[in-house]
Symmetry: C2
Subunit: 456 residues, 2 copies
């Protein structure tokens, strides 16, 4: 047995009670919004067959997948020659399973495996951890939760409008009141590439434009030049960066800019369709903005794309998503179109902490601690304890007759809002002493009144 000071792997975290309670508050708002919109929960195993994951995230992604060593004698089928060929080919011989890297590939696998039993359009949400062997740094972990919702099997633009509504509802419910949902469309980006004379180069254009926020316009132009965009094309692009204003101003300008691009027209038509649905709904707090420079990992998305930023807080996007044409094609089932999005829980957590938006109730579990003065007070307290719990009030009795100061410190540390003091006087009178730990005030009340007061 190791007597060394134990530790946890770098990039992973223990979540103590105070943190779990706050995280669960965020998860519960996300989950209840997903469910209110008709999404059903799915859970997939932490381990997937390595062959399911390999080749889905590019070479760099493949390196970041955590592989699981085969159990038993993993060397039994390995020869000296295998070892000489290096670790990459050897990996496949000693590892058949790996930890999931995201929730999208397992979802696609699930859809393909269960396509005959699923009612399409299939609306599923999934809230589970994923693992990546990234270099850990501030805000980047090797184990973190993803919260995804996707609809597959329909092209209806109602889904896009509802994504905006869900983003709005989750963040408004969490108390945020100044955030922007930016959207764009891959067709617009393709159309812009055409319009500036760089037909078919939207992939490179996107990669460069994606960095606009981080590196600025000049550096983006420089990158495009290095990638072989002509000076003319780059010069033609500059007015696009300047396209700002509200949606009603932008759309006519884009009509003109993209009038000769079929892809551009497709994008504009989708956007107008989505907006026409959105107009019939009330949006709570979100500002909604068309941003033609929004690019988001475009190898994957084919239609509308979304991203949410909290204004006046230093933090990357806290939610994003988009439409894709061919989710299950990687497993041989083409033609399943879908649209999905996800929330970044770690970032939302940090934003709520910074803005002090976690409600007090979201941080309380135990509501009442009954003090323990001696064996007699303890025995008197047992039915009281059970009565409080039967009324749905989370209650504990301090299990030993420790010093009152110690019991009070215990209540403080667990953030228990009430301590019920039952000493000899209280036992005699039947009026119990309820101390509010936040205000310090005390009330002497019969149990029935205490039940009534705390059940509110």
């Amino acid at each position: 047995m190791s007597k060394d000071k134990p530790s946890i792997p770098k990039g992973t975290r223990d979540f103590g009670p105070a943190t779990v309670v706050k995280r669960n508050y965020i998860f519960s708002v996300i989950r209840s919004t997903f469910e209110k919109f008709g999404f059903l929960p799915l859970e997939t195993p932490a381990m997937e067959n390595l062959s399911v994951l390999t080749g889905k995230y590019g070479d760099e992604g493949d390196q970041l997948i955590f592989k699981i060593l085969n159990s038993g004698d993993f060397l039994s089928k390995v020869s000296g020659q295998d070892i000489e060929q290096g670790y990459k080919p050897l990996t496949r011989k000693i590892s058949e399973k790996a930890l999931r890297y995201d929730l999208t590939v397992p979802f696609a696998r699930y859809v393909v495996m269960n396509r005959n039993d699923i009612a399409f359009p299939f609306k599923r949400y999934q809230i589970q951890p994923v693992w990546r062997a990234d270099r850990p740094q501030r805000g980047r972990y090797r184990e973190f939760f993803q919260c995804d919702a996707d609809v597959v099997g329909t092209n209806s633009l109602l889904c896009e409008a509802e994504i905006i509504l869900m983003m709005d509802e989750v963040l408004s419910t969490l108390g945020l009141d100044d955030f922007t949902i930016k959207f764009n469309h891959r067709g617009l980006l393709a159309g812009i590439a055409e319009a500036i004379g760089a037909n078919g180069r939207e992939a490179d254009l996107c990669v460069a434009i994606d960095k606009l926020d981080k590196i600025g316009q000049d550096a983006v132009n420089q990158e495009l030049l290095q990638k072989g965009f002509t000076e003319d094309a780059i010069s033609n692009l500059q007015p696009v960066f300047a396209l700002t204003g509200d949606i009603a101003d932008l759309l006519p300008q884009l009509d003109t800019l993209l009038q000769n691009s079929a892809e551009g027209q497709r994008g504009l038509q989708d956007i107008r369709g989505m907006l026409s649905y959105l107009e019939s709904f009330t949006v709570q707090k979100a500002k909604i903005q068309l941003d033609v420079t929004l690019a988001r990992g475009l190898s994957y998305y084919t239609g509308c794309i979304f991203e949410v930023k909290v204004n006046n807080v230093q933090m990357g996007s806290i939610s994003g998503g988009g439409r894709y044409d061919n989710l299950t094609g990687m497993f041989g089932l083409p033609g399943v179109s879908g649209v999905g999005f996800s929330f970044g829980v770690d970032r939302i957590f940090d934003v709520l902490e910074e803005l002090n938006l976690f409600p007090q109730e979201s941080q309380t579990i135990t509501q009442v601690l009954i003090s323990n003065f001696d064996e007699a007070s303890m025995r008197y307290s047992l039915p009281v304890l059970q009565a409080l719990r039967a009324a749905g009030i989370s209650t504990e009795l301090y299990p030993e007759a420790a010093k009152l100061k110690k019991q009070m410190a215990y209540a403080d540390q667990k953030r228990i809002p009430y301590v019920l003091l039952i000493g000899s006087e209280e036992m005699e009178s039947g009026n119990l002493n309820l101390r509010n730990m936040r205000t310090g005030s005390q009330q002497s009340l019969p149990l029935a009144d205490i039940l009534q007061q705390l059940q509110k």
Copy 2:
């Protein structure tokens, strides 16, 4: 990209929506009971350092731990000699992390790492998956959830009484009404070993007795003989197997049997202490039984032990636990006594299925599907959709004007209890057509009445 039919690793499971919803119902009953008793949630990483896990589960257990291959070039520090020494020593050179095998060792590690910040007695619960490279078979999985609750840092027998109350509350709330909570005490088993003339042999005695249910009394005797118990000892043991009856009958018999054993006396004292607390509480449905042949993995437990069986159902124990003296000793922090227990969710799931105890509500997420006849009905429906959701009613609008039969089949497959039909007639009159999918009855009602009816 692999175009092969994808699959999941053996021993793992996808949980589709219908199953997740039922499992979440079980988890929520367990969680809310734990919280009502003052337990706080803890979550630890799926990956632990291999050194934290190794040596805690015996040689056999060590083999069943899933190890994670080091990322990057895991061979860079491996020599040919390392490989010749076989897979066991090699494992430590190419793997530093592993998947947790249970929730107990990570809990002990957490307590040791955070001992200066924790308010003792520390009541924590933890509901997370664990992974074991066991041979998969019916009811045994390689990934499964554990639901543990433990109190560490107190010897109070109130904790033991509350474990019985929590087992009773969870299972009663889930609708079970015929189940037995068996308990025993390690001191009794040690005392019995003394009394039959096999002093100090309680470990072997327990291993054998533990199989009583499975292999019967004769086979247990045979095993004891093989392990070197004398014929006399085995003969002396036989009346112990016959010790039955209710607790009030058993205790005086045990007083006599164990009168010369300090360990036996300690056990009887603890049991009487626990029972005296329990008498002040109302137990809902559980039958409580002292079973001196209950043995449960005794290397670990030192005081009371518990196990729950559902009567008249073919199923092993669905909950169990006990007191241990030295949880954190494995990490160099001695003297932390605790008591804990856990629920077996997979088994509880099967029992509830078999007894048809999942409530209808626990299987419903989307409450209303609004039909989609054409573009006009769809647009009319958008504010209706939002009004229903705003009232807290999970609602979806079928996203396309598909055939009504297809939309009804979709509602059936998702077990949506109501379909709201909004065609031209309904749009004109403002009376919407609410169809109850279970009874087939339809009502024509204004939206306000529908909201009121469904909000009930």
